[in-house]
Amino acid sequence: MNSLGTMKNLDRPVISVTRVSKRFGAVTAVDQIDLTVNAGEIHALLGPNGAGKSTTLNCVLGFLHPDAGRIEVAGFDTVTHKPDARAQLAYIPEQVALYPQLTGYENLDYLSRLAGHVRSAGELTGILERVQLQPGAIHRRVNTYSKGMRQKVGIAVALAKNAKALILDEPTSGLDPSASYEFSQLIKELAAQGSAILMATHDLFRAQEDAHRISIYNSGKIVRSIGSELINEIDLEQTYLQQCREAEVC
């Protein structure tokens, strides 16, 4: 079993964001955000465009430096121990970035070896089969893949590098319902095996279906945080719209 399968330390935050702020000139994109994602937890970030979700994710990934506050991934500070923190992360954006001239198998092999995990051909094929990439596509070039297939390879990369945390930015945007469902099942499977998942999305239905915790952003702040005990109890759409109206953004 992959080391993602470990169920230890489920209550210990893998991702910890403490009073983080990020400004771009006069605009405060993220304002004193606090959030945590434990092992095995899916934490969904909802909010209108420009609310600060992606900025938060970029800070966690180390692509942006917070102006204030601290972010840790598996105990590594994302500013002072950036390579160590990044080694624990996998990132699946709306459009997964892969080498179009390489096959899915070659992409996985390279990115896995780059992360220091040399795997046999059988293991790599096994991982790609596990994420339900069609057998005929494994040795086909990525430039012939659909968006859903690319995302499966993205998840395979996360599995191959034994990532402790997954950062997803609008992962189901543009996917058909069937591909969205398949993706959602894979994410839930990863979480069940101990991965911490932080996901920014506009898909309220998927957020309610998949997430253990939902944070609603507005104007750079978390205006509402909903725990697992309430997620299925509330009308998420109405709650979301109400939060937006209150901030006069939507």
């Binding site: 692509f63 430096h65 990044r86 390279y110 990369v157």
Partner: protein, 271 residues
């Protein structure tokens, strides 16, 4: 890890038909350059030897004279060429390689090829040195910029950084791959020099090694100059982490500025 990147870059290189064709074209030009340069060298050597024999005959048959008159009679001297001139003919084509030596006069060398050439030919003929000095940098720039522009355009630069590797490690991987592509150009030249070294006793091995190191340094210089732009790409994705290469780029910028200023100043002074 280095091997993984190396294999990936070669795979991408092979699958990018344009680069393969470009490399094949330049490689063929290099082989043609060696063949053409070798033929010209042999023809020039033959002509030079025949002329030297004739000149020696002329000198010996000038008749009875006192030494001073003989000195005024003069003699032609021919600059010796080593087989390395096949690779890099140096400045002989511009400075001339025959000197008329006579008493009381300081003549300049004559018979420079450039004297009889149109201006376009002065830019360089098809010889290995011209290909290495003029075309190789273009290849390095084309490949080097492709390395990072493509990574950035495709978004794969973020995937690379998320592997947990530092920008320094990524820089070295790219530099090693680019160096390996560039060194392909030196293969025909190296093969020719190796052949000469074993078959021609006149070849000065120290000079050969020196020339090889100079060209190697030249390739490294262009690779560093090209990849110093990596600081720009990586600084965007990885802020505040690339000061070392900013410094190296600043040194190269400074060197280019210094050379440019002095060359321009000198040329203006010459005018």
């Amino acid at each position: 890890m280095l091997m993984a990147s190396f294999q990936k870059e070669w795979l991408l290189f092979r699958r990018d038909g344009r680069l393969v064709w470009l490399l094949l074209t330049l490689f063929t030009m290099m082989l043609l350059g060696i063949a053409s340069s070798s033929y010209q060298y042999q023809q020039a050597q033959l002509l030079k030897t025949q002329t030297q024999v004739a000149e020696r005959d002329r000198w010996l048959n000038q008749g009875e004279k006192n030494p001073h008159s003989a000195a005024h009679y003069g003699v032609y001297l021919f600059k010796p060429e080593t087989p390395l001139a096949v690779i890099d003919p140096g400045a002989s084509g511009y400075l001339g390689d025959v000197l008329f030596l006579e008493a009381h006069k300081r003549n300049t060398p004559v018979f420079a090829n450039s004297q009889d050439s149109i201006e376009l030919q002065r830019l360089g003929t098809l010889n290995p040195a011209a290909i290495l000095q003029l075309l190789l940098p273009l290849f390095v720039i084309l490949c080097g910029f492709g390395f990072f522009a493509a990574e950035r355009e495709q978004g794969t630069l973020r995937m690379l950084l998320l592997s947990g590797k530092t920008p320094r490690q990524l820089f070295l991987q790219k530099a090693a791959a680019l160096l390996s592509f560039s060194l392909l150009f030196l293969l025909p030249v190296t093969a020719y020099c190796g052949l000469m070294l074993f078959t021609n006793g006149d070849l000065d091995s120290y000079r050969l090694i020196g020339m090889g190191l100079l060209y190697f340094g030249y390739v490294i210089f262009w690779i560093l100059l090209t990849l110093s732009w990596l600081r720009y790409f990586l600084d965007i994705a990885h802020p505040g982490s690339f000061h070392g290469y900013q410094n190296s780029a600043a040194i190269l910028d400074g060197a280019a500025h210094f050379l440019g200023r002095h060359l321009i100043d000198n040329s203006q002074a010459g005018n």
